[in-house]
């Protein structure tokens, strides 16, 4: 009869298992590159480098502009390149919930980093933003625009934000000359599902409920609910 294996003390830390969970989480978070900085206003959010899937019940804003720009990317083989995207900008805006989903391959396994902001109320545009910039590869939903709406504006002539003196910042979207552009006084995009190459909300004027989680496997954001009511004043 062999002697039993020595008992290990209860409550010890399983570093190997901990690392198995923590390392993918850290790598995924680093890969996502989401930035949440406590600033003078509140919180900023930035997602870049790799495509991120997103959904929102509604995005509504004033002084809307869009233009086709070149966005630098890192290809799957690690080399640098660029793709063309439709860069959308809002001077002021409100969001009715936001979910970002990005998949990462780590040590042969797929992990998804899910980031959600806002509440579950389709009647509240609870996230107020300034100078929102979104680099779209594609988006599906309801695209509404109001005021004077111009299509095929020279992208470099699009205007969104103003400087401290109240003058429009020239070419705020950084578009090369002669690219496709859109300019509208108001824009409201409902039930949007899309893929963005870059997502920037440097000024979140309200601090929404934020949840970040790392899930094993490929996990998509839930389908966006139809918004109810009107968004109010951004």
């Amino acid at each position: 009869m062999s002697s039993p294996a020595p008992l290990r003390p209860e409550g010890r830390t399983h570093w190997r298992r901990t690392l198995a969970v923590a390392v993918p989480a850290l790598l995924a978070a680093g890969g996502l590159g989401s930035a949440m900085a406590t600033g003078a206003l509140a919180v900023g959010l930035r997602v870049q480098d790799r495509p991120v899937d997103f959904t929102t019940s509604s995005l509504y804003g004033t002084q809307y502009g869009a233009a086709v720009v070149d966005q630098e990317v890192v290809r799957p083989d690690g080399t640098a390149g660029s793709v063309r995207v439709l860069r959308m900008g809002f001077a002021d805006g409100v969001l009715n919930g936001l979910c970002l989903s990005q998949r990462q391959q780590i040590a042969g396994a797929t992990y998804t980093l899910l980031l959600t902001l806002g509440d579950d109320d389709p009647g509240s545009w609870e996230i107020r933003t300034q100078n929102t910039v979104l680099d779209l590869r594609n988006a599906t939903g309801e695209l509404d625009m109001d005021g004077i709406v111009d299509l095929n504006v020279n992208g470099a002539d699009v205007r969104t934000v103003k400087d401290a003196a109240g003058a429009y910042v020239p070419n705020p979207l950084g578009a090369p000359q002669h690219r496709f552009g859109i300019q509208a006084r108001y824009a409201k995009f409902d039930r949007i599902t899309g893929t963005a190459q870059d997502f920037q909300i440097p000024g979140l004027l309200t601090t929404p409920r934020l949840k970040l989680s790392v899930r094993p496997g490929s996990v998509a954001c839930p389908a966006p609910a139809a918004p109810t009511g009107t968004p109010g004043t951004p």
């Binding site: 409550g11 399983h14 901990t18 969970v21 923590a22 989480a25 850290l26 978070a29 680093g30 590159g33 989401s34 930035a35 949440m36 900085a37 930035r46 004033t62 086709v68 793709v83 063309r84 995207v85 439709l86 860069r87 980093l113 100078n131 910039v133 779209l136 590869r137 594609n138 988006a139 309801e142 695209l143 509404d144 109001d146 004077i148 709406v149 111009d150 299509l151 095929n152 504006v153 020279n154 992208g155 470099a156 002539d157 910042v169 020239p170 070419n171 979207l173 950084g174 000359q177 002669h178 496709f180 108001y186 409201k188 920037q200 440097p202 970040l212 790392v214 009107t230 109010g232 004043t233």
Partner: protein, 203 residues
């Protein structure tokens, strides 16, 4: 214990994200460039030199007026002789596709079913949609079917009613402007209503 370790991992991820934030800069989008030196002509803005190929399978509008031989200037400074088309209360009854093929990318706006490029403003006044370019085909059935703008002009004169609808709209359009003179915050009856997909592809 397992849940606790997961919580530690998530907190660590959050901390890393915050650290990333602290070294991240402001948006890269604010790369200032001088505006184009050329000034608009014929259109209130400078259109891109790459036109939009617009197709609408079925549409309805209150009216269409046509102004020929309008000289516009594109953003590269090139003058272009085009026709100016003014629609009032332009609605898409089925499938609109707008495609721009430029050097290095293709932009597609696709609306599979109904949509709008103009409606009534909050004062009840029909909104206008102006297109600068060339409509190569639009079919209107009166006594018989007419599919050319010139034929419609000869039949109706300069004011073409489209209240009965039109089919098979095809045009090469350099610029589109839709105007709502009474736009307001909280407006839900937006003149440009495009339920569909917008895609940018790079070859």
């Amino acid at each position: 214990m397992r849940g606790r370790r997961k919580a530690v991992a998530v907190v660590a991820a959050l901390l890393l994200a915050v650290a990333t934030a602290l070294v991240s800069g402001q948006p890269s989008s604010a790369a200032g460039r001088p505006p184009a030196a050329v000034t608009p002509l014929g259109v209130p803005f400078l259109p891109s030199p790459y036109p939009l190929e617009v197709s609408i399978d079925s549409l309805v509008a209150v009216s269409l007026t046509v102004e020929k031989d309008v000289t516009i200037r594109l953003s590269d400074g090139t003058p272009k002789n085009v026709t100016k088309y003014t629609f009032t209360k332009l609605k898409i009854r089925s499938h609109m596709n707008v495609t721009q093929r430029a050097d290095g990318h293709t932009v597609v706006i696709d609306v599979p079913d109904e949509g709008s490029l103009g409606g009534y403003d909050s004062a009840g006044k029909p909104e206008t949609t102006v297109m600068w370019g060339n409509i190569s085909n639009v079919c209107v059935r009166v006594v018989f079917q007419i599919c050319q703008v010139q034929g419609l002009l000869e039949f109706f004169g300069s004011f073409i009613p489209l209240t009965a609808g039109a089919e098979d709209f095809r045009g090469t359009i350099y610029a589109i402007r839709t105007t709502d003179d009474h736009a307001a915050l909280n407006s839900t009856d937006n003149p440009v209503h495009l339920p569909g997909t917008i895609t940018v592809t790079t070859p």
